[in-house]
Symmetry: C2
Subunit: 448 residues, 2 copies
């Protein structure tokens, strides 16, 4: 029987980060990673296969990084965990012993419970190269594509489909706006303006009632009675934790479907750690369960799990939620919570806003207007959220905000923040957005 | 006699930020800003006049922001401050009374004490529209330009001169490398490679001994005996605080030439505040005097000075130093101190390094390799410095590092940082540079 010190199940972002972290922290340990697929797509890169990369083969997790870190790669499917014997068994009839086990089994796409979802050319987004290759082929031969779900993955798929050039692209979203589960309304509206500019039709406040067709899908029937022509339907309505193996092994599962972990990413079995979408998450802000399935949270958890395997070295302060995306020419992002999130949690808050171009002077070619909104706790004045839209620098600006949130910086500290600025790379120091937004919030805090 | 609650002298980044901050913090106060120039250039934008913007008129401080904030703009030169009477007098024979005075008189270019600096077509970089217009005209009609000084302004001028297309551009630097006063050697070498790629000739470890010519400059004579042909010479060897007015008024001046201030940006006269290049600076890291003349430090100081005029509201923790620039296609930056700075201050430190592309997967078009080096205090493990080079996102990445430094985050907090990532905007979450560099430093810290 093969036996390793550390066995990692799963090969997406969390699996890789857990393996590399375990190697760094426990240089002498034997490590193996087992996954069911021959090749694993880069999860966040999946939409970009369709309009930009041109092939799922150009969007694969870099397996050489495993070999470089002396992590054995085993391609097989684990069917059972025997916690007493500390072994797993596989579909390929292997038994592998472990000292410590890390589950990074990820998530599965939600399938809406409506008639017709089994019709041909209806595609959920799965992390499966063959499935994604088929979707790409079908998209190439189609004219009308309907995407159900206006979240990040739905909109990124929509934007990439329109880049193919020959498709009519519609997005059906049941909430009043796309991305409304994450962003505040004004930012959702900006994104919808951009979608409209690039030719994507958004149908918000509407539900898909049924998928119609004879063998192949032909129409999406909406709850307002309209029928949308559809050669292909993409389902992007969200995911659920894939905790099946853990549940079968008797590990505690939360009401949200995630595997219960402590702050050290340890499960109810001290020899089993978990990271990523399959792990239960608590909010950095409220300490309550939260549904934040993001590669960045997954890798942060994996870096905690991987470091804690043989000695507890790190603790998880909870999921912050940091997103960014780009639709058309508009990059946008959020760190922490929005106004809606603050209201739902009952947090007293103050908003500060600022906008300026992302180069200086604004007459420089390519300068883009950047808008920023920051949200502070009203009484401690610590930063709890930020939303931005603008040019490509939004991708790292949202991380600047994320750092300020995680360091619990307050409005005065941010208003006197010393940043670097450069004409070609940032706003001017006088107009730097995060500083001015904090200053505007301070004016409201101390108005009297 | 005109009298205002707050009078600000100077109209560059610090003057603007002080005026706007004073307006926000003291809504009822009467504010005026006095400057000697009709128009003020955006300081950091000056090099970009020559190759990119095409005219100094496209690089002006946005005066409408003053009117919008109800700040009276007076164009005149202050010749004297009467601290007892609380008035200033001007070259235009005005007397203006103040309750609080803010000096943002900036800096003056250093002129090297060598023969020939008064020859025609030898240009220091001054914040003067007419002077910059003449330099632009002369550059257009020249063939050989020699830039003395390979610091930020010298290299940015060199890169812009070569964008004009018809110039042979050389940079003379007395240190072993360009930017060597700020960056560690390996980053200087990267920048020099880029300069060579775009056709700028760097002559390091050499001093200009004399400028030769008959009326107009014709040659730069180096200390190695070489003579460089020069139709025009640009002097970019640094600046000194412009503290003349303050000195005449009897305010305390430091040995570095800056006006002495306390942590509240108050001078030895409680009715006079100072911000920007004319103010004495202490290091965030050592508490010692430091020569950090940057618009970003200047505006942070101005936001402190402006808020403290009638009540002390904010304190200055010292200058962090955050720079970024772009030479050719390479953006690079530094926050805090480099290895050299740590060694000079005698700080025990640990370095962590990481590199990865700034999109993911790396097969995405336009992905650029980004290298990052972080420096931590060896014992407290807090971050004190970071250096990066790569694509345009370096501009905000250096600010992410700056925030982590100012929040005194330690290596473990950074290694478990939750960031947002997106294929088109950032590195992958597995390869995110700041997190991996911190993890590499941790491995060294806890090797045994």
């Amino acid at each position: 029987m093969k036996k390793v010190d550390v066995l990692i199940i799963g090969s997406s972002a969390a699996g890789f980060a857990a393996a590399i972290t375990a190697r760094r922290h426990y240089p002498g340990a034997t490590l193996a990673l087992i996954r069911q697929e021959e090749k694993t797509p880069v999860p966040c890169g999946i939409p970009y296969i369709f309009g930009t990369l041109g092939s799922p083969e150009k969007n694969l997790m870099p397996d050489p990084a495993l070999a470089k870190n002396h992590v054995d790669l085993i391609v097989d499917r684990v069917t059972e965990i025997d916690r007493k014997a500390k072994t797993v068994t596989t579909a390929g009839r292997q038994t592998i012993g472990y000292e410590k086990l890390v589950l990074t089994t990820g998530s599965l796409p939600l399938i809406p419970p409506i008639p017709g979802v089994k019709l041909e050319n209806v595609f959920p987004i799965t992390k499966d190269v063959a499935h994604l290759t088929r979707l790409l082929e079908v998209l190439k031969g189609s004219r009308d594509v309907v995407i159900i779900g206006g979240g990040f993955i739905g909109l990124e798929m929509a934007d990439e489909c329109r880049k193919l050039g020959h498709l009519n692209v519609s997005v059906v979203e049941m909430l009043p706006h796309c991305l409304f589960a994450v962003f505040d309304e004004e930012l959702c509206v900006r994104v919808e303006e951009e979608l409209s500019k690039v030719g994507v039709q958004v149908m918000a406040s509407r539900k898909a009632k049924a998928l119609l067709g004879n063998g192949k899908v032909e129409y999406v029937e909406l709850d307002d009675g309209n029928k949308l022509k559809a050669d292909v339907v993409v389902l992007g309505i969200g995911v659920r934790p894939n905790a099946e193996l853990a549940e079968k092994a008797g590990l505690k599962i939360s009401h949200t479907g995630g595997i219960v972990v402590d702050r050290h990413m340890m499960t109810s079995d001290p020899n089993i750690f978990v990271a990523g979408d399959c792990a239960e998450k608590v909010s950095f802000f409220t300490g309550q369960s939260t549904r934040t399935w993001l590669a960045s949270v997954a890798t942060a958890e994996a870096r905690i799990a991987g470091a804690n395997l043989f000695e507890i070295r790190r603790a998880n302060k909870g999921a912050v939620s940091v997103f960014s995306t780009k639709i058309g020419d508009l990059a946008c992002g959020l760190a922490g919570i929005g106004e809606k999130g603050a209201q739902e949690a009952g947090i007293a808050y103050i908003v500060g806003e600022a906008e300026s171009v992302d180069k200086h002077p604004g007459s420089l070619p390519g300068a883009k207007l950047t808008r920023m909104k920051l949200i502070f706790r009203k009484y401690s004045e610590t930063l709890i959220g930020g939303q931005i839209c603008g040019g490509n620098s939004v991708g790292e600006k949202v991380n600047l905000i994320a750092a300020m949130i995680q360091a619990e910086m307050n409005a005065d500290q941010i208003a006197t923040f010393q940043m670097g600025t450069h004409p070609l790379l940032t706003a001017s120091p006088v107009a730097y957005q995060v500083v001015n937004a904090a200053e505007m919030a301070l004016q409201k805090m101390h108005r009297n």
